[in-house]
Amino acid sequence: MKTSEPFDGYFTVPKLLERNAREFSNSPAYREKEYGIWQTWNWKQSEEEITALANGLISMGLEVGDKVAIIGRNRPALYWSFIAAQMVGAIPVPIYNDAVGDEIAYVLEHCGANFAIVGDQEQCDKLHDIKEKLPELTEVIYLDPRGLRKYDHSHLHSYKNVQNVGREVANSQSAVLQKRLATQNQDTICVMLYTSGTTGKPKGVVLTYKNVLSASRAASSFDNLKVTDEILAYLPMAWVGDFIFANGQALWVGFCVNCPESPETMQGDLKEIGPTYFFSPPRIFEEMLTTITIRMEDVGRLKKSTFDYFMRHAKKVGNDILDGKNVQLWDRIKYSVGEFIIYKPLKNSLGLSRVRIGYTAGEAIGPEIFDFYRSLGINLKQLYGQTEAGVFVTLQPDGEVRADTVGIPCPGVELKIGESGEVFYRSDSSFHSYYKNPEGTAETKDKDGWVATGDAGFIEEDSGHLRIIDRAKDVGKMADGSLFAPKFVENKLKFYPNILEAVLFGNGRDNCCAFINIDLNAVGNWAERNNISYSSYQELSGHPDVVKQIQEHIEEVNISLASDEMLSGCQIHRFLILHKELDADDGEMTRTRKVRRRIVEDKYSDLIQGLYSDKTQISTNTEVTYEDGRKGSISADIELRNVTTVNEKVDAA
């Protein structure tokens, strides 16, 4: 081994694949549930599959520097496509598989994709619809042949056939492949990831092997990941997190990547696999908690009171036990009883019983949700990161986990806080550039390598932990000069199972108002139990009892805000419940389900105006986009409600 070389000589993904196939040849590398059974490929078999595909791609004419778009749900064959493309010297560009035609067209056009490897007919259809815009896209390769039999196959190929051709030409072509592999170094481009971006068009973040592998190496050693670890790959492949976990870290450490049978069966598959390393945006944790809450509403009184009793106890001591702090013996005994009858079965049914390291990232998580999981004994931690950083900027070390911070800098990452309060970082893993966008690159990354995160935050003096307040551009001032931090308030609201999404307005105004999206699962279940009939989301969201419940939640939030000196000005004065769910297809959210505040503001300006008037009802008409790209519109009469606020001076007295 040439240790003088960077990364112990394994400075590209193909080199790591070769190492894994040699050193961990029999360890499981990829698993996928298909036909009801978990099918496993070990590293040796995976290498064979990937090499076959790479040879096939070369014989189809894929050149060094070409772009290969990868669209589909998480499947081993698509993860192999990344590595095969990299072996050939091409650059993989994963795309969100639920993106609509226009979004895909933008990315493919921008990166100039030459090949596309897709999951099934749905993706082929989307590409077919936009092919006029994409003169550079020459060949499309699909995994699932279903429904494609009658399509014109002159530029459409089945994945298996490409591999078979690759196997046939493997010998005659091995020199070409070896030559291409030999020219790669740590500065070769590893991948291009398009950020969903809460504003504007997506940007193509270029990451080199050095970026990806330093991020993977640093975070893997931080959490002591092992080759025996298991992850469930169920988050979008185009998301940087999934890329680093399932491509970067999996290759670096050699652990196993498990792919669910279908997105709908994820929860069941999670339970069967029981991953040891688990990551998820807060949303999934919120959904799981909502499901538990709903189901506990339906059980008998004895079960319910047992559950409540032990959950209260877990809330009291669970976190301290997990952190290894001093806890009284009697409390420990009670906790172990609870572990036996409540916590363990609950964790098992959630599929989290084997989790050694769990991360939540992407958005701030409600402290109550975070504590709920930790109190069960699940080592859930927060990390703070972004695509430009190869995910990791800060991580929480074991034993120093708190809901209100995002941890200490990842090894190899330097942090600084700018004059405006914005967080900057610098590391080997920070991105190379934005593709075809030098101005954007210069705006974000200065010549010393400091990258602006766009988030406002500060470093706590005594612990060294970073605290994020909000998106720098979202944090504002109310008319009276007090702080306006919408995300903080929205997260408080979202902790209520009934509330799926909340959007707060009030920057530069006298007071705050909010849009609420109800959670159809939770509220629908409540309606069923109370014999309230409804025919649509819209009808349910306008039901007087629902509005009343939401109002009560908001009043509770107002009370808790009033006690916070900095944020008491953010109390909600008026609200309305939206007649439709905010949706990525309508551009109101990103594909990772973050609200695009500006777009929502524009689109519903009439409703906001209504909130800041003294009307009690407003009619509106909204355009919606269906999954297949067709458009329609819905109109609704929406009730505008006043909420009681707490006067902080009275409260203090």
């Binding site: 298909e34 036909y35 009801g36 059974i37 096939g56 014989s59 189809m60 004419g61 279903r146 429904g147 039999r149 009658k150 399509y151 014109d152 196959h153 002159s154 190929h157 089945s158 056939n161 490409v162 051709v165 049978e261 279908s262 709908e264 069966t265 069941g268």
Partner: protein, 274 residues
């Protein structure tokens, strides 16, 4: 760019072509006491096609399906299947010949899981005896694995993985219909009979079901004969249509031909009495 495409068909939207008749009905007459349900009807079903039987209520469509299926035995006429004249048979013997069906009113085992229900569709392919199956030794074990694999492919095909282990009685109607189709498919039939597959479905469920029927026909080359009320669906997915009215055949043509057939128009829209 070399030999990548050697095994792949290069096709656009082509004319559909079919093989020889898989089933021929010759002068079938079926009476229940004094009621003539089917009167002297002849038609054939070609290998690989989607054949629809339509008609107003009481036209004799379901009786026709039951005749094909061997549940009813016509008083007159001959049935030819796979080039042989069919003798009087029990329905299970006909199932062994390679004809599977679904029912207008779902006929599933409500207390069993989706998986078990579809597994029952494999009974014609199971050869080991009760004893060895009960002990689950030797060939029975191997056989179960093989059958399970086919069942799982059906589950994958119909996209019902999520309900694999759910009790069928708890499923919504549209999904139960899909499970029933799954059970019929699991039999790997030569001829698939569908009795009102879209009855009681909403538009989305109808679209899904049409897609599945076309995919079955396309992927497995299964010949499909279906009875349906919904004219829109029939016109979209059928290759040829038989129209029945009061037990008689009043039309037998392509969907376009049927739409222009005066007898059919009269039967559906009624004729003015002078």
């Amino acid at each position: 760019m070399n030999n990548i495409n050697q095994n792949e068909p290069v096709m656009g939207e082509q004319e559909r072509t079919f093989g020889a008749p898989i089933m021929e009905m010759k002068n079938i007459t079926m009476r229940f006491g004094g009621v003539v349900a089917i009167q002297d009807i002849s038609f054939d079903i070609l290998k690989g096609e989607v054949r629809a039987i339509i008609g107003p209520n009481g036209a004799g469509k379901s009786s026709m399906l039951n005749v094909i299926n061997g549940f009813y035995h016509p008083q007159e006429g001959e049935i030819w299947f796979g080039g042989e004249k069919r003798a009087r048979m029990k329905p299970y013997q006909i199932a062994y010949q390679g004809i599977a069906r679904t029912f207008q009113n779902i006929a599933l085992f409500k207390g069993m899981s989706t998986l078990d229900n579809i597994m029952t569709g494999r009974f014609t392919h199971m050869k080991t005896g009760i004893l060895s199956q009960a002990l689950w030794k030797g060939p029975a074990e191997k056989e179960e694995y093989e059958n399970r694999e086919i069942v799982e492919k059906v589950i994958d095909f119909l996209e019902i993985q999520t309900i694999r282990k759910t009790e069928v009685g708890k499923l919504p109607y549209g999904l139960q219909k899909r499970v029933e189709l799954g059970r019929a498919l699991a039999a790997e039939p030569k001829l698939l009979l569908l009795d009102e597959p879209m009855a009681g479905m909403n538009v989305e469920e109808k679209e899904d079901m049409s897609r599945f029927i076309l995919d079955v026909n396309d992927e497995f080359g299964t010949t499909v004969a279906l009875i349906e009320h919904d004219m829109g669906v029939v016109m979209d997915i059928a290759d040829r249509v038989v129209v029945m009215d009061y037990g008689k055949k009043i039309g037998d043509d392509t969907p376009e031909g049927i739409l222009n057939n005066q007898d059919v128009i009269d039967a559906y829209l009624g004729v003015a009495h002078d």
